[in-house]
Amino acid sequence: MSSTIIDRFRDPRLAQRILDRIKGYGVEIKLMEVCGTHTMAIGRFGLRKLLPPEIDLLSGPGCPVCVTPTSVIDSVLSLKGVRVATFGDLLRVPGRGGTLEMARGRGLDVRVVYSPFDALKMAREKETVFIGVGFETTAPGVAATIITAREEGIKNFSVLSAFKLIPPAIDALLASGKSRIEGFILPGHVSTIIGSRPYQFLPERYRIGGVIAGFEPVDILEAIRDLIDQKMSNRPRIKIGYRRSVRPEGNERAKELMNRVFTVEDSLWRGLGWIKRSGLTLRDEYAQFDASRRYQLLPPSIDDDPNCRCGDVLRGLIKPPSCPLFGRSCTPDHPIGPCMVSSEGSCAAYYHYE
């Protein structure tokens, strides 16, 4: 049907020209796409099969559901007499006591919302807890919701904040020393908020480059091409390939909202463990909207199946099929690890597309 701006980034001839150049380099390279939406896009457009074998793409920790500790789900299941509002992805994530979807079958009032403001609307009728999961992309909208709740004097509303920050997680991956990653495809949406500057530590401290990419085939292929070029010329840098959305300074207004409501703290990542200054918690001024203080929820902990290798998948050490559970006991119908349950999880992407 009619052509849109998106079609230009799906132009087969342009994609083919970039692919030809990538093949022409003949360079072996290990790259990580940090963001789950990139993992899905690579699967959806079948890019892995078009790329030559020397390009090794690993999926990173940028899948919100995947890195959220199981105990967050169990904390929610322990709530009584409140309404739980969540983004849909979390519905089928198993905690020790089952999933939110199963809990709904047993009578817990669970609602799927598309915006935290919908949860705030619900709070006018009934005490509502919004599960705040995600990265810098989703945190500003939740911050704006909390500010609105305070301005309008809505007391029935709180947020269980499990928000995480992307740059400290990338830093932690590299600091472990195990990684062989030679370049990063950096998340387009997170970077729309934070800009390109928070990634400068990559070339400066690790001599690794990154390209902030959009989510269409041409965006991703061009990011890969640029990263190979950076490796060949040995000049790693942070490049914005997603100029239609990302500016170096990011979105100042969104960052201001986030800073007003949240403060940075150490955070527990499923699969990766504790990472310093990598999570967001509500500032004391907003304590009344903090579900973990309001309901005295237990601090996060991890209780994973010892055979599940989501942690190694998230660190880029193995690919999903190397996990002994993958496709056998762990499938999208019966996910054991979090990477299988989210549609953006790398295991689900491999299961569906590879």
Binding site: P64, V65, G88, R92, T99, G105, D118, E344, Y351
Partner: protein
């Protein structure tokens, strides 16, 4: 496996098929198609409707109920004849709305020439239902010489659809959640029996299904599972409205898994040019086109993307979940 029903069990994906397997252990079912030929070329179908909101752009639960029943019969090649309609109504439901719903049901029945001959009405306590649920029961006659079955599908067959994909599901989710996206978009909810009869007159149609719950991709997977022949559909040929595509991009869902209520997917022998020409003359077939073909040496259902790769279209576990970011 959960020991209780979740919403996922009703979504047309793998979870629902697991549930159907449980039923098959109990009931001696001849098949799992929506309509079944009982005897003397009589086709029988039952369906139920729980759509929310009850009134949506392009229709309401009454129109949907009669349309859905007609289409289930039509996919067997049957001419719909009789219909019974049962209401389960929640206490407090406006009688005006009930009349409106009934009128739109009758309007579709008149258009197609199906006779509504009865039904049942039950009222449940406030809070024990969600406004109104409808159950229908339909009977149709299959004309002589018509036999549609996956058994007849073979490699080289073409796959034809009568217009844009995903309109119903996106219109509903948009109306339900109030996104304010695609504001002019209407459900494609439409009775297809006349279109189908015109297609059958041309000849060459081997099998038909309406891609409702689970969408086009789920239907194609069911055909693959029954025939063992792979299927390739071509992204460039897929009719998808820009507003549907845009809404799906935003929500992170794939229009190929979104429900339709006025679409038929037909498997045809060889070049479908003549069938498509006839389909385009029908009021519900203006956007008819060929989207793919059945392949010999291929396992599974694939989408040939614009950039030339083959992407597997698997059967989803349940409804696609909207993504977080």
């Amino acid at each position: 496996m959960s020991d209780r029903i979740t919403l996922g069990h009703g979504s047309g994906g793998r979870l629902m098929h697991q549930l159907l397997d449980e039923f098959k252990k109990v009931f001696d079912l001849p098949g799992l198609e929506d309509a079944h030929e009982i005897e003397d070329r009589i086709a029988l179908t039952a369906d139920s409707f729980v759509v929310k909101p009850i009134f949506f752009p392009g229709g309401d639960i009454g129109r949907l109920a009669v349309t859905g029943t007609i289409n289930d019969l039509a996919m067997k090649g049957a001419i719909p004849r009789y219909l019974m309609i049962t209401y389960i109504i929640e206490e407090g439901f406006p009688i005006d709305d009930l009349v409106k719903i009934s009128e739109s049901a009758q309007k579709i029945a008149d258009e197609v020439g199906i006779k509504i001959v009865g039904g049942d009405t039950k009222v449940v306590e406030k809070g024990k239902g969600d406004g109104i649920y409808i159950t229908t029961f339909g009977v149709g006659i299959i004309p002589d010489g018509i036999s549609l079955s996956t058994d007849r599908i073979e490699p080289g067959d073409r796959i034809v659809i009568n217009g844009p994909i995903g309109d119903h599901g996106v219109a509903i989710i948009n109306a339900r959640e109030g996104f304010g996206l695609a504001t002019d978009l209407k459900s494609d909810c439409a009775p297809l029996s006349q279109l189908v009869q015109e297609m059958l007159k041309v000849g060459g149609v081997k099998f038909m299904r309406d891609p409702t719950r689970g969408g086009v991709a789920t239907i194609l997977n069911e055909v693959y599972q029954e025939t063992g022949y792979g299927i390739i559909i071509v992204e460039e040929e897929l009719p998808i409205r820009p507003e549907v595509r845009g809404a799906c991009e935003l929500l992170g869902i794939d229009p190929l898994y979104v429900a339709n209520e006025g679409k038929v997917i037909a498997f045809t022998k060889g070049d479908p040019g003549d069938i498509i020409r006839v389909m385009r003359q029908n009021r519900y077939g203006g956007g008819s086109c060929c989207i793919g073909r059945v392949e010999e040496d291929l396992d599974g259902v694939y989408l040939k993307t614009r950039i030339g790769s083959l992407r597997p279209l698997i059967m989803l576990s349940a409804d696609p979940l909207p993504r977080i970011c």
